[in-house]
Every structure is written in C-alpha cells, then in structure tokens.
C-alpha cells in the first residue's frame, strides 16, 4: 500500500488527463457523436427540451453523415436514370445502347431469377470455390509471409518465384492448370487460390519486416522467448498489413475465379454471365455482373469486419 500521497503525482495525473482528453475527444467524429447523443440523453431527464433537441440531433446527424449518404444514393439513381433513358431511346453515339436492356427490364428479370433454383446453384458453386481457394491462400500466404519475413533464407528461396509468377494474369494460368490438375473444378480453385495468394504473402512479408526493432528489443528484455516475440510482437505488428493483404486477396480471388469460370466449368456466376451472352439473354449478363460486384464487395467487407477486433488498438487512435 502506498502511504505517502504527495501532490506531485496527482498533479502529473491532472496534466496528463487534460492531454489525454485532447487526444481522444479531439477527433471530430467522437466529438460529433457525443454532441449528437447528448441532447437525446438529456431529453429523458426533462420533457421540455425534447421538443428542441430531437430535431437538432437529426439535423446534426444529417450534416455529419446523412448528407453523404443522400448524395451517394442520388448518384446511383442518376446513373440508373441515364441508363434507362439511353436504352429506352436506343442511344447509339460512342456507346451503343441498342442491345442493352433497360434497368427496369433487368430488375424484372432479376426478380424472376430469384425464383429459379439454378440461379442459386450458380451462386453457391462460386461461393464454395471462393471459400476453399481463399482459406487455403490465407493460411499458406500468412504462414509463408511470416517465415519469409523472419528468415532471410526462406525469403531468398521464395521471392524469385513470387516475382516471376505474380505478374502472370489468372487467364494465362488456365491452359496449364487444366493440363496439370485432375478435374476442371480443381483447376478453377487453383487459379482462384493463386490470385489470392500473392497479395497475402507480399503484404504479410511487408508487415513482418516493418515491425519496429525497438519493440522486439523491449519484448526480449522483458524475458520473451523467440516464439513469444512472434505471437506478441511480430504478428500483431504485421496485422494491419496482413488484413490489407487479405482484403486485396479477396478482390483478386473473385477476379481470378471469374476468369476460370468463363472459360471452363458448368456452374458458377462467371459461367452464368458468359453463357447468357452466348444464349442472347442480355439482361442476365447484367444480373451476373452486378451479382459478381455485390459478392466481391460483400466478401471484402466481411474480411475487414472479421479483422476489426484484431485492429481495435488502431481504430482507437482517432485518425484514419
């Protein structure tokens, strides 16, 4: 127990509290959130200010966030309106809209497709391929990236392969993977896996190499073993970079998957899009494209969301 309570430490604390207050409430979003929330809280205490504060809170919300959301929705509606006008009037100058269905037609077809079980099979097959390929790429990519970052020999062994193979687009892998792998399904998964692998490996490697040596020294001086340093210092330190690699990898995975599905396979959203073109089902092309976009965006967002708890220490910083 501490018996002497001299004013000195208390004074330090005060000064620091003020400084700490600055760093946290200094960020505009936090300040705005509390400012917006406060009138609502006080409204519970007495009924009279509620008349004033509720619209004020809504107004504040609109100025902070709502305005941006409104502009974004408007931008999409505007584009859809232009597209509708161009298709309905068979616009043909620079771009040819004569064969392009209107958004209304596409919407109707989409509702129809939603009642068609085959459509779900296409989606399910694509998602399954992504899942298998991506999980394999993430496991191998992080493992390899950490090893390469920790041991120069491993980096020297693998870097030449990565540098040579990385620029080769997924489409170029198709012939070889069909020749080398037993089934069409496995070649598509292999191509998807390759696409996701490189960004994950390289970002992990970069993150591991960026870990400040001061932190490693500090951990060592407090008795941490090499293994403990890996788990407590290197990997958490590389985590922002690893997560970035995982997010990019997810995008590239869809990209590669589509290349594979267009050229071979019997199901999948890429196959659906391409056969729609061959079968002159033009609305389906657009449905396929939009589904790919939606799935890609959703899966990347899911990766980021899943990684959020691991990066909590960063987001608390206040700056973006």
């Amino acid at each position: 127990m501490r018996t002497k309570a001299t004013p000195a430490p208390a004074l330090v604390l005060q000064g620091d509290e003020i400084a700490a207050g600055f760093t946290t409430s200094g960020r505009p979003h936090a300040a705005a959130d509390t400012a917006a929330a406060m009138p609502i809280n006080s409204a519970n205490d007495s009924a009279i200010p509620a008349l004033h504060s509720r619209p004020a809170a809504i107004k504040k919300w609109f100025q902070q966030k709502g305005r941006h959301i409104a502009v974004r929705i408007f931008a999409i509606i505007l584009a859809a309106g232009l597209w509708q006008a161009a298709s309905a009037n068979e616009w043909n100058f620079l771009l040819n809209f004569e064969n392009i269905p209107t958004p209304v037609t596409v919407g109707n077809e989409f509702v129809e497709q939603l009642q068609n079980p085959t459509f779900y099979t296409h989606l399910g097959v694509s998602i399954k391929r992504i899942l298998i390929a991506y999980v394999l790429a993430a496991l191998l990519g992080i493992f390899l990236g950490v090893l390469m970052g920790r041991y120069a020999v491993v980096e020297d062994i693998f870097i030449p392969y990565i540098e040579i193979l990385r620029p080769i687009p997924a489409v170029a892998w198709i012939p070889l993977s069909i020749l080398m792998l037993p089934t069409e399904e496995s070649s598509i998964i292999f191509i998807t896996f390759l696409g996701a692998l490189f960004p994950i490996v390289l970002n992990t490697l970069h993150g591991v190499e960026q870990t400040p040596s001061t932190l490693v020294r500090a951990a060592r001086s407090f008795g941490a073993s090499d293994r403990a340093i890996l788990w407590h210092v290197i990997i958490p330190g590389a985590m922002p970079s690893i997560v970035a690699g995982l997010a990019i990898g997810m995008g590239v995975a869809w990209f590669s998957l589509l290349a594979g599905e267009i050229i071979s396979g019997q199901y999948g959203i890429g196959y659906f899009t391409w056969t729609s073109y061959q079968m002159v089902e033009y609305p389906h092309i657009i449905i396929g494209m939009l589904m790919i976009g939606a799935l890609g965006t959703t899966s990347t967002a899911l990766v980021k969301l899943a990684a959020k708890p691991l990066l909590r220490w960063q987001s608390d910083k206040g700056s973006r």
């Binding site: 000064g15 700490a20 760093t23 020294r217 001086s221």
Partner: protein, 292 residues
C-alpha cells in the same frame, strides 16, 4: 516423490513473485550490484572500426541511483546496452550480481526513450507482459500489473491502448512495466528526453518518489545536467567518443529532493562543474569532427 513434484512449482512461483515486503527484504540482500570492468566496445572491423567505449570501469552498489552523463554520441547508451545484454563487450566484462551479462534478461528492467509499449496491448497487458513471459499465470500477472499501475498512478487507464495516452503517461506505463518484473536494476535510457519541460520535471519527481519506495539500483542515461544532478546519488561524466569515464561525482544533496534543490548552492556548484566538463568534451568532439 509425488508430493515433491507437486510442491516444487508452487515454491518456484512464490519465489518469483514476491510481495512488496519480500522485495524489500530481498533488496537488503544486496541485489543489484553492477560491476563493469575495463569495458571496451568496438563497432565494425579493423580499419573501419569505431570505438564507442574505451576502458570503462564502474561499480554500482545495490540501491544506488547512478546517472551516466555525457555529450551526445559519447557512448552512454552503449554502456547501458552492454549491461542490458543487447551489445557484446569487445573487451572487458560486465557483471550483474556476480554473473556475467550475456543476453537480455528480465533481471534488468528497461525503460526506453519512447514508443516502446506494444501498441496492440492495453496498458494493463503491457505491464503484465514481463511477468507473463517469466512464468506467472495470467491472473498473477494481471494482479501484479494492477499493483504497479497503482504505483505510477495510472490505475484508471488500465484498459486503454497506449496511443490514447500522453507521452508522459506512456513513460509511466513503461516504468510500471519495468518494475513489474522485480528487476535487480532499472536501466533507463533517456526516458524523459522526448517530453516537454513541464512534464519532464513532474516525471523526475514522480520517479524519485517511486524509487524511494523500491530502492532498486538505477542506471539512468541522460545528457541533461539538471536532470542528472537532481536525480542521482552519483553522476558519472563521460568523455566524447570514445567514451571513457572522466569524473565520478557523488551528489550528497538531501532526499527527498524537491524543486527547492535547484536553488541550493551545492546543486549549483555541482551543476557548474558538470557543465564545464561537458563543455570541454563537446569542444573536443567538435575539434575531432573538424579534423576528420
């Protein structure tokens, strides 16, 4: 046979994680005796070799607060890093409690200049890190961490992440973290160098107060003369590169020391002596650089 194997780990735990009382008792058992004998440290090979430290001798008694003072680049931090185990001696030998230092270890509590807390761990997890690494269970480490956060007055910030704290608070977490391993010696490498003057003063007072409670051996590196004289029992003045010991000044100013010390004639005369030594050394260093 069975009983002894059951009791053994328990006995070890008790030995490693003593109460504050045990620590005080242990302090009386002459823990934290530093002996640096004829230490030279060279970087690089042959013709390109840079001699950072030359024939450096220093003995620190348990419980002494020693400041290493010298112009920048004189090798003060190199001496400290040799004691920390980060740098190998090219010649001579560094011992802590009779054992030659070979690698970093938890018996030396390091406080670094800045940004050495693990940003992804909360304040509490940072302080608990050392005990956890040296064999404490999670709950032992956490309760130790809470104790030491209380010592540095930051209990209220246990769940915060380091980057939400001010620089001064981060350094106090750093001190708590170093103390949590019950080190024989506290090694502080310009810990307040990056802080503003006001916070630095408060941190110095704060440190002395904490130290008065634990009485660890402290080796404190600084280039700030006021800081060295204010804090230390002994100020070791080092020469410009290669670093040698040129003066070992005992500071007999009474403790506890407050702001009033700064106007004490004894303080001022020691300060002026240090100032002269450092100025001469800095001039020498400039002359060397101009020749080169």
């Amino acid at each position: 046979m069975e009983t002894s194997s059951l009791e053994k780990p328990q006995a070890r735990t008790v030995l490693r994680y003593p109460s504050t009382d045990t620590l005080r008792r242990r302090q009386q058992h002459n823990r934290g005796h530093v002996s640096i004998a004829d230490l030279s440290i060279r970087f690089g090979q042959d013709a390109n070799a840079h001699i950072a430290v030359q024939n450096f001798n220093l003995t620190i008694e348990p419980g002494e607060f020693v400041c290493l003072l010298g112009p920048s680049g004189c090798g003060k931090s190199t001496v400290m890093n040799a004691l920390a185990g980060f740098i190998k001696a090219s010649q001579g030998n560094v011992q802590l409690d009779g054992k030659t230092v070979e690698k970093p270890g938890p018996d030396r509590g390091m406080v670094f200049q800045q940004h050495s807390l693990l940003p992804w761990k909360t304040v509490l997890e940072n302080v608990a890190f050392g005990p956890l690494m040296t064999g404490a269970t999670k709950s032992q480490a956490e309760s130790l961490a809470r104790t030491f956060l209380e010592v540095v007055g930051l209990s209220a910030y246990a769940e915060r992440f380091p980057n939400t704290l001010s620089g001064g608070m981060q350094q106090r977490v750093g001190i708590a973290r170093a103390l949590a391993n019950y080190p024989s010696v506290l090694l502080m490498d310009e810990p307040f160098g990056a802080l503003d003057a006001q916070t630095r003063h408060m941190m110095q007072e704060n440190l002395l107060e904490i130290w008065s409670e634990f009485r660890n051996t402290v080796l404190f590196v600084t280039h700030d003369i006021d800081e060295a004289v204010y804090l230390a029992d002994r100020v070791i003045v080092m020469s410009a590169a290669p670093g040698r010991l040129i003066e070992d000044i005992r500071i007999d100013l009474p403790r506890p020391r407050t702001e009033d010390v700064y106007s004490d004639p004894a303080f001022i005369s020691i300060k002026q002596r240090c100032l002269k030594l450092i100025r001469d050394e800095t001039m020498k260093a400039f002359a060397q650089q101009n020749q080169a």
